[in-house]
Amino acid sequence: MNTPDTSTPFAAQSLSKSYGAHTALRDVSLALPAGRVIGLLGRNGAGKSTLLNIASGFTLPSSGDALTFGTPVARLDTPQLTRLGVVQQEARLLEWMTVRQHLDFNASFYPGWDRSLESRLLESLEVDPKRKIVQLSPGERQKVGILLGVCHHPALLLLDEPMSALDPIIRARLLDALLERLRDDGCTVVISSHILNDVEKIVDWIVALDAGQLVENSPFDTLQESFAEWTVTSLNGALPARFPEPFVLHQQPGERLARLRVRTDDADAVARFAATHHAEVKARPLNLDEMFPLLTRQPKARA
């Protein structure tokens, strides 16, 4: 990575991170596109939080390069940090402060802190600014973490399980707020969450990790076009016990009816498959929830 590109919010080259004997990230190379909402997917322990921690400079790579706004993460300073927003699953704040005091404290470090956005978010997320942090429930603390992460209009917003403790109404409001930020600021949002139904509503790019390795880095539209569930009904005789096509990722075979989950970019694949197996094939696109197990169990990276 010889030519730092300041327009790329985050880029990594051969990035690895180990904690003792445990390798959290293994040889990850990627560049996050600017102005997108990126869904960072992976199973527990896949390395999502580690990647976000490295991008925000919390953790340094064991090997390889990691650049945020073109600057090595070990050297992030005021120019980069003012453009960076991070919302953590479990924000650790100064418990003795009130919400208002904490907002004032954080705001003092950002020249572009938006008081009107702060007021709007306080209202829509239903946060009482007079309450002490120590008296807040985990969900309320998460809301304060969101406020602290977004009110300075970051160009790169990293959200690590930001909705895990929020109720559905607040989650919907948070998603609206994120879309508003995207519309108004054109910021890049990276959201790591297991609540895929919510993520699906806003993401337009998917990065997937599995066991510390990058297994997907593509536009969401492309994924939606290539992943599908085929319902295969035999027109003549029994269906094979197992379909050999390499694009079939998961199958529930049956004598007359089979359900297959496939990934193919070939537009004629359905017709060809139907002709090969003398069957009728009905295709429907997969949602992110259905795509997730297929994305995170692929043998090699497709980036």
């Binding site: 919390f58 005021t78 120019p79 940090l81 927003g85 418990e95 404290f105 003092s108 470090f109």
Partner: protein, 500 residues
């Protein structure tokens, strides 16, 4: 970051309150307990110890912020806090220098400035990622610092006399090194990993505050994430029906990898710190009450030893406080610690009857440990007193202290029963105060009047009967409570009682 926000972070009122409290303790220990001449104790207190405390108090809130996950993301926060800390060090240092110059006239301002600068800067080198929650640690550190300072006092004073400018230059250089290192990026970077750090200003009044309760809950959570070889093999089937095993499970849930011995050691530090603190405080009060009739430490210790066996004193009745205060403190501490152990950290797969038995046992084990620790504290106190007074030590000296401390057991049992039985908070406060302050005070004075008969069969029989009755009442309260309680309810704390 402006001055208003920095001062909000620092909380000057609390800072000064803590400084005054520990500063006064440090000076009184030096002068009265260690018997240093007045000029020497003032020199050590105002040129070394109080500046080090102030330095620690000034850096504490900054370290606390650095140990939070939001801190590394704040642009320029490290440098802004470095600037404000530098300003506060200069202001605080000058204030201490202005105080020290008239109080320590035998040393030059240059030497004092060097010592003050270095002492204030040293706490910045605190690399601890984790601070124990028990308040006695500052006392222990203070005691260790005092001993080291006392050992090095003479050469230090001689150096200050001989080469004041050298002391100034060395102190300032050392302070600068500490300042640069304390705010360097590598020093700050990894602090966010452990958010379990709370400065003194946050945890005031040290017992039962919201932050302390939160910190303890967080500490339990962190402890529970650690495991021991024994806990890794625990299963419900393995634990079986043994009460002893279940007590270990409950203890593990509360303290994680910490063994009971380690917990007891922590409690022991509390006990061993409290008794000398009260002894020193009482001596000060005795001195203050009779300014024209100055009592030397040796005379005071001789009176203490005489009082220990006969209950009679030749001087001020204020010395009676030396028996009352530890007894009250012992009851209060045991009541507080024991009532914390009656709330389970988790719901366990055992019957409510068994849960009651486990927690009853755990609570009384805590009380018993504290009782032993307080007696050990008294033993240490009398050993020191015998040494200072130049008299031989014998176990008979422990009679009054033992008789004053033993009632902790029935009082703690009754307090626990009270916490479980009395639902209305309004009633709990006066009952709690009456139990942990009123009864120990009364029994201390009662013991005084009959110390020569305290360990005869009749008083011992009465004590045994009362204790057995209190424990039985406590067990009934436990059993009844755990039949109906919400096993996940948070601990009752002093805040809930409206005290803190």
């Amino acid at each position: 970051m402006n001055a208003r926000l920095y001062l909000r972070l620092l909380r000057p009122g609390r800072t000064l309150a803590v400084l005054a409290m520990y500063g006064w303790l440090a000076w009184s220990w030096l002068h009265f307990l260690f018997g240093l001449p007045n000029n020497a104790s003032r020199f050590l207190a105002f040129a070394v110890i109080v500046p080090a405390m102030l330095g620690g108090l000034l850096i504490g809130p900054i370290h606390e912020a650095m140990h939070r996950t939001f801190f590394p993301l704040l642009p320029g926060a490290r440098l802004a806090l470095r600037r404000w800390h530098g300003i506060s060090l200069i202001v605080g240092g000058l204030a201490l220098l202005a105080l020290a110059i008239p109080l320590v006239p035998e040393h030059t301002p240059a030497a004092l400035a060097g010592l003050i600068a270095l002492s204030m800067a040293l706490p910045m080198l605190n690399r601890r990622r984790r601070i124990g929650l028990w308040r006695p640690y500052p006392l222990v550190l203070m005691a260790a610092a005092l001993l080291l300072t006392l050992a090095g006092y003479v050469p230090l004073a001689q150096l200050c006399h001989a080469a004041p400018w050298l002391v100034l230059a060395a102190g300032m250089s050392g302070a600068l090194v500490c300042f640069r290192a304390g705010f360097s990026e590598p020093f700050v970077r990894d602090r966010w990993h452990d958010s379990h750090l709370y400065c003194m200003q946050s945890t005031l009044p040290f017992v039962g505050s919201d932050i302390l309760v939160h910190a303890q809950a967080r500490g339990r959570q962190l402890a529970a994430e650690r495991s021991t070889a024994a806990s890794r093999t625990w299963t419900v089937a393995r634990v079986g029906a043994s009460l002893r095993e279940w007590v270990r499970v409950v203890h593990f849930a509360r303290f994680g990898a910490s063994s009971y011995l380690r917990t007891a050691f922590g409690l022991g530090i509390i006990g061993l710190c409290l008794v000398p603190v009260f002894a020193g405080t009482t001596y000060l009060l005795a001195l203050a009450s009779s300014p024209n009739d100055r009592v030397t430490p040796a005379q005071f210790c001789a009176q203490l030893l005489s009082n220990a066996t006969t209950g009679q004193l030749n001087s001020s009745d204020l010395v009676e406080l030396i028996f009352v205060m530890p007894a009250v403190m012992a009851c209060m501490t045991t009541a507080i610690f024991a009532q914390r152990s009656i709330v389970p950290a988790y719901a366990f797969p055992i019957s409510r009857e068994r849960l009651a038995a486990v927690l009853f046992f755990e609570a009384h084990r805590t009380v018993g440990t504290l009782l032993v620790i307080f007696l050990a504290g008294w033993l240490v106190c009398y050993l020191i007193a015998a040494l200072v007074a130049g008299q031989p030590f014998h176990l008979g000296l422990m009679a009054r202290a033992t008789a004053s401390t033993l009632p902790v057991l029935p009082i703690a049992s009754l307090t626990l029963a009270l916490f479980l039985r009395v639902r209305r908070l309004l009633w709990r406060v006066p009952l709690f105060v009456g139990l942990v302050i009123g009864i120990p005070t009364l029994q201390v004075f009662f013991v005084k009047t009959c110390i020569d008969r305290a360990f005869t069969p009749l008083p011992l029989a009465i004590y045994t009967t009362v204790t057995a009755l209190a424990i039985w009442l406590c067990w009934r309260a436990f059993r009844s409570h755990y039949q109906t309680c919400d096993a996940m309810q948070p601990a009752i704390n002093l805040h809930a009682l409206g005290i803190a």
